[in-house]
């Protein structure tokens, strides 16, 4: 059906001229070029027909009654914003002014009478070529926008939606393009700590989010498996270095909020200062960038370490991306860190501070176009108050008979009244279904964290499950005790004050670095029960032992005081295990953990 095809392909032209003769002449030429033509004899009528027919091309006379060509062109260009219907002025006014006015009014070209039909047709072809290009660009743009929106939805689903404690941690982000190069992550560790990351990839838009998925996956997986924050940062750095081109990298601030120690571990690589505010609006700590952005160097700089800060219940940790500091207003002034600090110090700390900061940035910038992604994370340090881990400490849990169980060399406590007391003989009567052992010695003690290795062995054999979370805590606490108090001979008395805790941590780092001798041997054996199973844990260290009896008794008295900074680990283990026994002056610990299906 050739007729219909012609109809679909044909384009529509609108000729606006008060001379009917001119209209007719132009119509004939246009039809020869394959256009269908409608006409109007004054500017106002031309605008009306433009609205009604949405033509592909407009030819416009200048001098007309009711509304002249300039005014009509202006109105048409106003209506057609976002789509290009080329508009050509046809005139006998051969002056510079006519030419300039035509362009000012929005005309795409001008054709001065008299002209030959060939010149006219050439002009139409040229202008149509531009129109076609414009349409192509527009279609591409729309397609790209659709793709980006889809990808953005997917990314958001992967990244933001699975964050931990979204009800308590305030996260605000505002992207400069559809895609944000900023990433915000919060993940719960097996031991109850929380890892938080605010990252800012170079630039913004799609190209800056290439690294987002590997970053998110690594951060979540390693946190879930129980790796320490520094180990995770090392891994992410190597990964992004391998993955991304040299000019793409990640400025990021990492925070680990400890659930039991009133402390925060932080690492800032290339972001503006991360802040710790006390609840009266004073800055307690300013965590400055101490390392080039992640993914710049093949490995983290030697001696890279987390800094530790002591915090109180109502303190707030605030992480920001440079989009906050560098947001500009109309006068090209930056929001700046001084304004930021003022806003926070004057904020109502019962509110989500991230939201308050964002409002203030918006007020400052007004309608100015946003140049960079903006992200703010607000972590209240009392995030754990409703957490199970904390609850354990507020319960009275010591049995009256407990003191009587103590003898000179060993201390065995049975905490759980639900289970029968199991003696060593009972355990031996059910043979282990598997055993596992790892002996770490010398410098490897400082560089290898055996707990994730042990956990992955356990889960590889027995499958994963919630019940291993407690075991993770038990192993970590016992291992850390063996390392800190056994091998490194650190005194936990240091940890009794917030400042001491920091000191303790620094001393620990120092001794770990120099460590060349000593060992810790971890033995696990797993025994099946009618439902569930029992894990026997034996950890022996090379140390001289530490005053565990003294310590344990002291701690047991102090446990009800929530502010006690040391001894909590052991008490926690006590709560989670079936039996817990220290021998050889504390250099050997045996524990058993039981779980029911």
């Amino acid at each position: 059906m050739p007729f219909q095809k012609q109809k679909l392909d044909s384009k529509l032209a609108l000729v606006v001229d008060d001379s009917k003769m001119q209209c007719m002449m132009l119509s004939v030429l246009l039809k020869e070029e394959g256009y269908e033509v409608i006409t109007a004899n004054d500017g106002a009528c031309g605008v009306a027909k433009y609205i009604e027919y949405q033509p592909d091309l407009v030819l416009m006379d200048i001098n007309m009654p009711i509304m002249n060509g300039y005014e009509a062109a202006k109105q048409i260009k106003n209506i057609s914003q976002g789509s290009l219907a080329p508009l050509i002025f046809i005139t006998s006014l051969d002056s510079d002014k006519a030419f300039i006015d035509s362009v000012e009014a929005g005309g795409d070209s001008i054709l001065v009478r008299p002209f030959t039909p060939e010149v006219f047709k050439a002009k139409i072809k040229a202008i149509q070529r531009i129109g076609d290009l414009y349409t192509q660009v527009k279609n591409l743009q729309q397609e790209q926008q659709k793709d980006e929106e889809l990808a953005e939805q997917l990314l958001n689903g992967v990244i933001g939606a699975r964050n931990y404690a979204l009800d308590k941690i305030g996260i605000v982000k505002k992207a400069a393009a559809i895609f944000s190069g900023d990433i915000q992550l919060s993940v719960l560790c097996p031991n109850g700590d929380i890892h938080v990351l605010l990252g800012d990839f170079t630039g913004h838009g799609l190209r800056s989010s290439i690294g987002a998925i590997p970053l998110t996956t690594t951060f979540r997986t390693m946190t879930n498996k129980g790796f320490s924050l520094l180990e995770i940062i090392k891994q992410i750095n190597e990964q992004l270095y391998d993955l991304l081109p040299a000019n793409l990298f990640l400025a990021a601030s990492f925070v680990c909020v400890s659930s039991t120690h009133h402390s925060v571990y932080a690492f800032n690589a290339g972001l503006p200062d991360t802040y710790i505010y006390s609840n009266n609006g004073k800055i307690k700590h300013r965590i400055q960038s101490q390392h080039p952005p992640i993914g710049v160097l093949p490995q983290l700089l030697p001696h890279s370490r987390l800094d530790v800060y002591s915090v109180e219940e109502y303190d707030r940790i605030i992480l920001i991306s440079d989009g906050v500091i560098e947001a500009r207003n109309k006068a090209k002034e930056m929001f700046g860190s001084e304004r930021f600090e003022k806003v926070v110090s004057e904020s109502d700390f019962s509110q989500n501070i991230a939201v308050l900061i964002m409002q203030s940035v918006n007020d400052f910038c007004q309608e100015t176009e946003q140049e960079d992604d903006i992200s703010i994370i607000d972590i209240p340090c009392n995030i754990f108050t409703e957490n199970n881990v904390e609850d354990i400490f507020s319960q009275p849990y010591f049995d009256e008979n407990y003191e009587e169980n103590i003898d000179e060399n060993s201390l065995a406590i049975n905490m759980s009244t639900d289970h029968q007391i199991i003696t060593a003989n009972d355990v031996l009567s059910t043979p282990a279904i598997w055993k596992w052992q790892l002996l770490l010695s010398g410098s490897r003690l400082g560089t290898v964290n055996p707990i994730p290795i042990a956990m992955s062995q356990i889960q590889a054999i027995e499958g994963s499950g919630e019940h291993w979370h407690s075991l993770y805590t038990i192993l970590t606490e016992l291992f850390v005790n063996a390392l800190d108090h056994g091998v490194l001979e650190l005194s936990s008395a240091l940890k009794n004050s917030p400042e001491g805790f920091v000191q303790y941590f620094n001393e620990r780092e120092k001794r770990l670095e120099k460590l060349t001798s000593g060992y810790i041997n971890i033995k696990l054996s797993y025994h099946l029960l009618a439902s569930g199973g029992r894990m026997l844990i034996k950890i022996k260290d090379s140390g001289k032992g530490f005053a565990v009896l003294e310590k344990f008794k002291n701690n047991s008295l102090n446990f009800t005081q929530n502010n006690e900074l040391s001894g909590r680990g052991l008490e926690l283990v006590n709560q989670l295990t079936e039996t817990l026994e220290y021998q050889d002056n504390g250099s050997l610990v045996e524990a058993s953990y039981i779980w029911n299906q």
Binding site: A246, N247, F249, A251, H291, D322
Partner: protein, 102 residues
């Protein structure tokens, strides 16, 4: 054009000066300012004394320049960054990667 480039053949130096804003829009020009200098042991002096602002993509461009210099066995020296620019270099801890002369 806000990039000025000056090559001194005798002492193997390429000076690149950036005026006003150092951002992604300069990407192409910036690359062209050094990519054809393939003389071994060339040092690249990046004069940022007239740079008012730089963004993270500029940091990325400096890293690309550093790669180029490393391959030639030369080095990148950033000269006289303005306060604003220096703050950004500081946050990114770039003094650990390249020489910054104030």
């Amino acid at each position: 054009m806000s990039i000025k480039q000056q090559i001194s053949e005798s002492n193997n130096q390429v000076i690149i000066a950036i005026e006003n804003n150092f951002d992604f829009s300069l990407h192409q020009h910036f690359r062209e300012a050094y990519s054809h200098c393939n003389t071994p042991k060339t040092d690249f002096i990046l004069d940022l004394s007239h740079t008012e602002y730089m963004d993270s993509s500029a940091l990325g461009m400096i890293l690309l320049l550093k790669d180029h210099a490393d391959n030639l066995g030369g080095q990148v020296i950033i000269k006289k960054p303005s306060d604003t620019v220096n703050k950004i270099l500081e946050i990114a801890q770039f003094h650990r990667l390249v020489t910054i002369e104030k």
